[in-house]
Amino acid sequence: MFWHVFKTKLKVLLWNKSCLFWVLIFPFIMAILFNAAFSGLNAMKESKSSKVAVVQDALSENSEWRMFFKELDKHKSFEISFTSAEDARKKLDDGEVQSYIDFKDDKAHLFIKENNIGQTLIKNALDQYAELNTTAAAIAQTSPEYLMREDGFSKIMTEDFVKDDNTEHTDFTVNYFFTLMAMAALYASLIGIELTKNNEANLSTKGARLSVSPTNKTMVMVADLLVGFVVCSIQQLVLYFFIRFVLGVQMAAEPGWTLLISMMGVLAGLSLGIFVGASNKKSEGLKNGLLISVIMLCCFFAGMMGDPILRDKFETMMPLFAKVNPIAAIADGYYALFAYNGDMEYYWQAFARIAIFAGVMLVLSLVLSRRKRYDSI
């Protein structure tokens, strides 16, 4: 009987257009869009690297500032040239550079004609550098040889100052793809809703038909879970390979562990869907809408939209929610694998968070599925 139900429900699911769209197509579309957006952003930044002239009159050959700008020049966002004060002013007027920097009393001054993102970036870098100068001075006193090395302090500092790295997909862009995969896993809840609808007598006449048959409803629910689990796990695996190899995003190298936490995420999604589906008699459209909005909100708080800094802000604002947020939990797991440094503790923490979420939802849906008589159908 179990396999009879399993086979039929698998067929039903694979022919259900709306489920297929949200679960098997939508995440891939999102992945392609994300990829296009990030590549576009990078291309734009690259073409608009900001040309900066540095007045070298006041700079000694080996000064800290000179090293700083040499490092900055290696960065794609900036093109640094050293020149005289007069020449720099002329170049700015002619539009050959967008800004120049002069020094007075060992302080850097930025001269610009118009304000744009390139100027903002260099201003930020200068400000932070100036701030850290005191630290540099301190180090200079204790270990000056370090400060003077070509790849030494100035290199470390430039990396710090210019957060916006332009290599293809860096730490923060990859987070978008992690939340995307987590979102796709939780979209399994839509399958949960669809399958539950067919099992509960108060949700559909098909459910009534099941209820009058000599069939254990919990068994049917488990068969449904397995159907959703198989389909969505395959989706996660394909999505992982798609993002990694077709879109060329640098992901965790280990598909096994990735799939493991993905599968827990799918289970969480499915049982969330069953719980929401069975808990009330509202229309399927409403339930789907509700779940999609909640999942999107969780994605938002997990940093899928906007500045990745936001995510840290939310985390300090609502630490408990950040822990419960299933999207964040799954994405954290992926991230732990991605930034793997031989320590799986952070991965297992994330795994435990999503597993607890799944467990709670599963128990709730089991309780609801044991209901047999209804007040109204």
Binding site: T205, A208, V212, R373
Partner: protein
């Protein structure tokens, strides 16, 4: 006669609304039992209570002499239900739908295959096995709905308005199928608000209104409940007031009503109404198109008991 279903004092409330009110019915083995009532009279609610789908406030329900409960799988195995709303998977074709629902009752694959074929034959769906429900007409869809409910050859079958929105030809095919199932040994509970259907196939009938039984018995005994004996309908031009007054003086006349080109004369029980009406028409030199006599229908019974028409 063995009673297959016994319901005692069933009361069901939706919130404060009493949908079924202290209802007691029984169904005998091998019969086609008709539950007749207008929309909203509580037919579906009654059936869903009997099937243990709904919680109810009061009442005792026994099927095959056993108390019905959601866990009584042995009992459920003997029952087949055709719900009022079509309940099939749009993603599966005709054959797979029947096979799925049959499979909830019959484990053995060979038996199931045979049963599914039998159900397809009974509902005449042979040519549509590979069709999806969306490709079927309303009548065919209803037949599929029936096939899904009865494929496991149950001993007791509930059919809740299985012919709603079906053209007369398909309806007859469905009714014939039901009679066939009954002849093959199944006891049948049939609900409808079409009195003609119930008259056509049911042995015993209960008429419901607002959750209460207002009449029960065989169709003959029900018709005896009306004071009306015969209705004579004359298709003619509207008679003037004087003639109408003359009509109303006829012996045993209960009501004379002109409507839509027809004069309907309702008489109480008695004999030889038609000849006297024809004589009256001749005497007054009234011309007419057609004249015919009607015996009381269940609609008349309902009309007399509730003061309203059964339909709508």
């Amino acid at each position: 006669m063995e009673k297959i279903i016994e319901v005692e004092g069933l009361t069901k409330l939706y919130g404060k609304f009493k949908a079924v009110d202290d209802l007691s019915i029984y169904v005998e083995k091998g019969r086609i039992f008709g539950l007749l009532g207008p929309n909203g009279s509580g037919k579906s609610t009654t059936i869903n209570c009997i099937l243990s789908l709904l919680k109810y406030q009061k009442g005792e329900i026994k099927i095959f002499g056993e108390t019905m409960s959601p866990d009584n799988y042995e009992l459920k195995r003997k029952i087949g239900v055709v719900f009022q709303d079509v309940a099939v998977f749009n993603e599966l074709n005709v054959y797979d739908n029947i096979d799925y629902f049959c499979g909830l009752y019959i484990r053995d694959k060979e038996t199931r295959k045979k049963y599914v074929e039998d159900a397809i034959k009974l509902t005449a769906l042979q040519d549509f096995k590979k069709f999806r429900p969306k490709q079927l007409s309303g009548g065919l869809l209803r037949r599929l709905n029936i096939a899904c409910g009865i494929a496991h050859k149950p001993k007791l079958i509930f059919l809740d308005e299985p012919t709603v929105a079906v053209d007369p030809q398909s309806r007859n095919a469905i009714l014939e199928g039901i009679v066939k199932l009954n002849k093959a040994g199944a006891t049948i509970v049939y609900t409808s608000h079409y009195m003609e259907e119930v008259e056509q196939i049911c042995d015993r009938i209960v008429i419901l209104d607002k959750g209460k039984i207002i009449a029960k018995g065989t169709k003959e005994s029900l018709k005896e409940m009306t004071t009306m004996g015969e209705r004579i309908v004359i298709e003619m031009a509207k008679p003037d007031k004087k003639i109408m007054a003359e009509f109303e003086k006829m012996p045993n006349l209960l009501e004379a009503k002109y409507d839509d080109g027809k004069l309907a004369l309702t008489f109480a029980r008695g004999k030889e109404k038609l000849p006297s009406v024809i004589e009256f028409l001749k005497k007054n030199e009234l011309s007419y198109e057609r004249i015919f006599s009607e015996l009381p229908s269940l609609n008349d019974v309902f009309l007399e008991l509730t003061g309203k028409e059964l339909r709508d």
